[in-house]
Amino acid sequence: MRKVAIVGAGLTKFYRNVQETPKELAFEATKMALDSCEMKLSDIDCVVHGTAPDAFDGVHMKGEYLSDGSGGYRKPYMRHFVGGGTGCFSPIHGWFHVASGMFDTCIVVAEEKMSSAYPHPAGAFLTIFDHTTEQPLYPTLIWIFAIEMNRFMTTYGYKKEDIARVAVKNKKNAMDHPSAQLGAEITVKDVLDSEIMAWPVNRLDISPTSDGAACIILAAEHVARRVTEKPIWIDGVGWALDSAYWTTRDLYYPDYVEVAARQAYKMAGIKEPSKEIHIAEPYDPFTYKELHHIEGLGLCKKGGSVQMLLDGVTQRTGNLPCCPSGGALGVGNPIAATGIMKVIEIFSQLRGEAGKRQVPGKPTCGLAQAWGDLMQVGTVVVMRS
């Protein structure tokens, strides 16, 4: 397999309710990514597009609908979708195309416009549940995440006031991110006092409904070296899917994230992830998810993530900064675009170009991870400078 690098990136602002159409958002991010590395659409061999359920937009063939905005006109083009895990599957999908030798360059773009489904996109999620055994009970996604959070808490004795610190950290980090929807200085008390959605999940434990798009440009080594002095290499990729029988799994631990991470670490030659990974962007659509994923990624031992948080290890200035971007909780969570936003954060950090968000210590190895479907998919990308 050939080496594959990220050479350019682009990101729209994230808001709830943007005026731009999904295609216009995709165009904005893609154009920005090409401009960032001074490439033209004619330099691009193929395009891959990540975007979450068609039901958000009410547009079937959403991939095809978006393709004009993504530079897909008369190019090899393919859409991928693995729920909330889509955004970190996107670079993997692009990596196949370039690593295989089939193409030298690839646009990897993800777009999400969640606000079209109203009054709330949550309603569109009813149909992800089993139509016979679960839908008649009118479940919502918030419930199943609260159910998972509770199992995680009761297994280890974690406290809500400790988990709330993830929101405090990430929303503060997001204050330095130009795309951020919800950057803010808040306290643990603010999180605990925010309205209950589905206990143990309060309003400030959840990422917002967001619209936005993000894009990276991938290139094979000979092209990457010509385009930029600082290519960031995709050194490991992994993805795995667990059973859709989610009520018959023990939700305290994301085995599928571990499987995906082990695959990516093996490929990248990483033996001790907690030492060799310098910076991470685990998927944080809910506060507890950052911790759940840190454990699944092997960045601490099982049951060790809360202590790591309390010790400040995951702060921007800590030994293993997690979500220095501000994450889904702070920057926003336009599902598929969030994953690429996280990849772009690692790209910027490893290049030493993250500005006010730059972590100290010149990191050379980082990872981004996403998660989704019925709490069952893990997607992991390991990057090095």
């Binding site: 350019g8 990136a9 682009g10 990101l11 729209t12 602002k13 808001y15 709830r16 309710n17 943007v18 005026q19 731009e20 958002l25 904005e28 920005m32 990514a33 960032s36 590395c37 009054p119 709330h120 949550a122 309603g123 009813l126 139509h131 016979t132 055994t133 679960e134 008649p136 009970l137 009118y138 479940p139 919502t140 918030i142 419930w143 609260a146 159910i147 998972e148 509770n150 199992r151 009761t154 795309s179 309205e195 959605m197 589905a198 206990w199 143990p200 999940v201 619209d211 600082k230 059973s243 029988y245 009520t247 018959t248 799994r249 023990d250 939700l251 910027s348 290049r351 170009e353 500005g355």
Partner: protein, 176 residues
């Protein structure tokens, strides 16, 4: 110029919900009217027929010996067809649960007005293999007094009201 300066977010125009709802910006609305008739398959079909009889049925994998609920025609772990049907109890324990102030559309319930929060749970069914749970609601219990491992029992609709659906069980309630 550093690459990150060039890729900094420029556009995406923020709208307020008000601007859309009051028509200050134009939008088009559509409510899909789609209808489906989902076949249940032999495993869930039998499961529903037994619910109508007031019983819960599981299916066993002869390879890993798991007694699985909801029943399935193949074991997703061993990847083989499953074996015998086994009746399990209509009791179980709470594996994990939620105290929800919102409904399926994320619309807030009138908790201040006296509406009881919803308390969906994963319930491990007695007689099935350890950890085998189903999603259902808890009721007849103070939402804030539910705990992991709490023993519960199904509260059934009267036989004449049952339709062969998961809702033939109204909810689960605590037992001693």
């Amino acid at each position: 110029m550093e690459i990150t300066e060039k890729m900094v977010a420029k556009t995406a125009t923020k709208l307020s919900a008000d601007e859309i709802q009051k028509g200050k910006v134009l939008s088009v609305k559509w409510t899909p009217k789609l209808k489906y008739a989902w076949d249940n398959g032999p495993a869930i079909g039998r499961y529903l027929a037994e619910l109508k009889n007031g019983k819960i049925i599981a299916k066993k994998c002869d390879k890993c010996h798991r007694i699985m609920i909801p029943p399935r025609m193949f074991c997703e772990l061993c990847w083989v067809p499953t074996g015998e049907w086994i009746y399990v109890q209509d009791t179980g324990i709470v594996n994990t649960w939620v105290v929800s102030y919102v409904d399926w559309k994320a619309t807030r319930l009138d908790i201040e007005g006296g509406v009881r929060p919803l308390t969906p749970a994963v319930i491990e069914i007695d007689g099935a293999s350890k950890g085998m749970g189903i999603l259902h609601h808890l009721n007849d219990v103070d939402p804030w007094k539910i705990y992991r491992g709490m023993k519960v029992k199904a509260v059934w609709k009267p036989p004449e009201e049952r339709t062969g659906a998961i809702t033939d069980i109204k909810y689960f309630k605590p037992i001693k």
